[in-house]
Symmetry: C2
Subunit: 267 residues, 2 copies
Amino acid sequence: MTRNEGERKPAEVDAGTPTEQHAPAKGWLRIAGLGPGHESLLTAEVQQTLDTASDVVGYIPYVARVPERPGLCRHPSDNRVERERAAQALAMAAAGKRVVVVSSGDPGVFAMAAAVFEIVAEQPRYASIDIAVLPGITAMLAAAARLGAPLGHDFCAINLSDNLKPFALIEKRLRLAAQADFAMAFYNPRSRSRPAGFARVLEILREECEPTRLIMFARAISTADESITSMALSEATPAMADMRTLVLLGSSTTRRAGPWIYTPREA
Amino acid sequence: MTRNEGERKPAEVDAGTPTEQHAPAKGWLRIAGLGPGHESLLTAEVQQTLDTASDVVGYIPYVARVPERPGLCRHPSDNRVERERAAQALAMAAAGKRVVVVSSGDPGVFAMAAAVFEIVAEQPRYASIDIAVLPGITAMLAAAARLGAPLGHDFCAINLSDNLKPFALIEKRLRLAAQADFAMAFYNPRSRSRPAGFARVLEILREECEPTRLIMFARAISTADESITSMALSEATPAMADMRTLVLLGSSTTRRAGPWIYTPREA
């Protein structure tokens, strides 16, 4: 498959106005990333798309970030209903609505884009919908920027939630990533339903890495609740993370420079 | 170390106007990501910072993306002089300039942020400079968005340039990442000075992965030169990548849904 999409500029969106009388409105679906929290971290593309939407769909706190305005219908839904939310958004787009599914961060990183394409795969009639994914600043980039450049060399991103995969697979990936000496970004480190998982993650990392390895906890970056902590891996405790925390682990070369933490470009 | 920076909103920049006569201008350094190419993929934070800068420093084609205006001095420099560029930017900020170092994509991912902190580590007098890193849309997020959601589950990012690390380390990381079943994003896959490296990368991946594994070549995303190709790993050839190409390799679960490619959230 080859697609050359040089003709379509990212910010172009069809406002959906029928040019012929009685022509049905042509719906579309955009899966957009709102960034980590602060509105200045949205791209212009996402902002412009929100301004032309008829419907916004997403998890309650993310939909709340989109201001109300006449002509915009907001559809907040609870956590853990990603499939239902994706199906609702596709059905509205198929019916002619201009729908934006909003995710925090980037929609393609542990967020709504995969859920939407799971439904498209199951229901081929949706493959003809005008869909686009609009990237955003994912949490690990925002957290890394606040700390310096801890992801300045090869790294990996692992979702620590075991809602959708066995913990044994998480453990395998942690050990192999440590052996590869990747810096690591951990999403969804801890929740009320999985209090023990992150404690086990720290145990595994301590088995694989030296005690002085740098670990960083970045909570609610770019919001009023923002806090950042860093320390040696040996000093980290499970309570340092919650579901609003992005955890970064340095590679063996990650180090401090004054108040900053960075991973040198040279191995 | 704990920092709570909730007070500082991301978009706040000091325009550098002295409030007292004869007070020296307070310089600052921002290390900013311009995104993959199209101006609609900049964040508002980066745009606002560029609007208040006195000096812009970076690789020639990235500095060229910042429009000329009165009061802005542009300092383009050649490739492979990252250390010299970082030192120049720090010296100007220490002298009271409002300096933005521009990178394509995100400055913390195989870009200028690590180079700046390398110099800060060597020259501690620079640790007191007002420095901030402003995140951007890195190439793998822009490429993944165009394709669907190939990074929808755990993934890693590897710089294939062996300018700063031995190829043996690249090979080790490729094999461990394949064994961990990460999706993978490859930066800097090929250049004129390293024509054989990417051919060897494809050989290694074919040893570790099944022949039908999906591989994606995303070139110059969001520019007029954009092109996207995807195929089975067995069909990929080294000539499909150049230095403007971001290469994505799916995990074992990555699949197609109509024109889209995604990695399911469930392992």
